[in-house]
Symmetry: C2
Subunit: 248 residues, 2 copies
């Protein structure tokens, strides 16, 4: 149980390459995904009884019956829940350059809600890769997992420096979201490429600015209006504009 | 102080037509908006000294120096802050039909973060009116105010039933966000109209369905991807698509 608790810290998740999901809905979603290797399920007896069928189909996992008190000691949530699962991070395979399609690069997205929402956006628009700077919140943080509504299982994510990523995929167009740039809706988006999103407060980091080939922006309808959009909302609008390349 | 505390409840905000903003950034933003009538500012001495100039320009308000302990008793925030202001809700004037441009109608948006983010979107895209069902979270809820980043001061909001709104503005196109409908990016959006956004879980309420003239949707790029988008993200994408009418 101490071990499970340690997994609320990123360094232990990275060390063992495993993570925790909490709550009934997420646990059921994980169990239904045969591609995810689950180590243990810690559940209260009532939950295990109700979902005996679902558990029986997964011979790979160890079921541990716990009391509500034990569960709350392992949990990072403030409200009580009935189940918690420990699973291996999904396997990641680097695509070869010809198989690389579209990706996001998140440069300093720190809010877990925004990070989860962005994974959901990538999943919706069929953007298969989301790369993150080490200044971004960890994708396997339990609040990110919750906000992603399962998208973290379908979108490939990896923490990597943008410069290192571009050594691997030299020649790919690198777009960046800026307050000033080409109108995202008039811009001829490339079919393949990487879109870099900075943090709401700081924007794209100084290190990464020289790596951007094209600056895109979402035109403001009201010159006296809001100074900026929420980072996840801006990402959604840019991904929708990019996806139009494929609709048309 | 009891009175200020009571304003954390919607019924008291509605009864007196006033509301509370908390924290240094929001208080300064309020003070800078001469159009907002502020009743009182409750501040710790240090804050009042630092912002003496800003306070002096506002002869309309009463400054009350409080201790941190008193402030935390009035506050709805868990983290300490230095200032809290009580203000009158901005004046609302119903536009005549020829002056009505674009509006959102929020049907059951309950998450304060989403509501605030949507006000920020309306503000960014120059959508001057945001109407809300009584099943939506109150716009003057302190979490909404925080998430709106000041947009609640610039966007006109009112709680009203959609049917009642349409009696006043008969003949305006009423669009609705749906999982299936016309592609938002191929659709010829009207220059004037009302876009109805439902809740993430329930969508547009059954009562309001017959009032919708046109169903619009955000095409999904990945058939096996996320079931839905976050409500604020979907609103942002639809508003961006609608705004294109004006860019072009």
């Amino acid at each position: 149980m101490k071990f499970v608790k340690s997994l609320h810290l990123k360094k232990f998740r990275q060390k063992y390459d495993i993570f925790v999901v909490e709550g009934d809905k997420m646990a059921r979603e994980m169990l239904a995904q045969s591609a995810v290797a689950i180590e243990q399920v810690y559940a209260v007896e009532a939950w295990a009884t109700t979902h005996a069928g679902l558990l029986r189909e997964r011979s790979d996992l160890e079921l541990v019956i716990v009391t509500e008190r034990e569960l709350s000691q392992m949990s990072s949530l403030t409200t009580p829940n009935q189940v918690l699962a420990v699973a291996h991070k999904p396997n990641w395979e680097w695509p070869s350059l010809p198989h690389f399609t579209r990706a996001l690069y998140l440069d300093g997205i720190q809010d877990p809600g925004n990070m989860g929402t962005i994974l959901r956006i990538a999943d919706w628009f069929g953007i298969p890769f989301v790369f993150c700077s080490d200044t971004s919140v960890d994708v396997f943080n339990s609040k990110v997992i919750q906000a992603s509504m399962g998208a973290f299982l379908r979108v490939n994510t990896v923490e990597i420096e943008l410069a290192v990523l571009l050594e691997r995929y030299a020649g790919l167009p690198v777009l960046g979201a800026f307050m000033e740039g080409l109108n995202a809706f008039d811009h001829s988006w490339p079919e393949k490429g990487i879109l870099v999103i900075g943090s709401e407060g700081e924007g794209i980091s100084a290190n990464n600015l020289p790596l951007i080939n094209e600056r895109v922006t979402i035109p403001k309808g009201n010159p006296n209006g809001a100074e900026s959009l929420n980072a996840a909302v801006a990402t959604g609008i840019l991904c929708a504009a990019w996806a139009r390349v494929n609709y048309e």
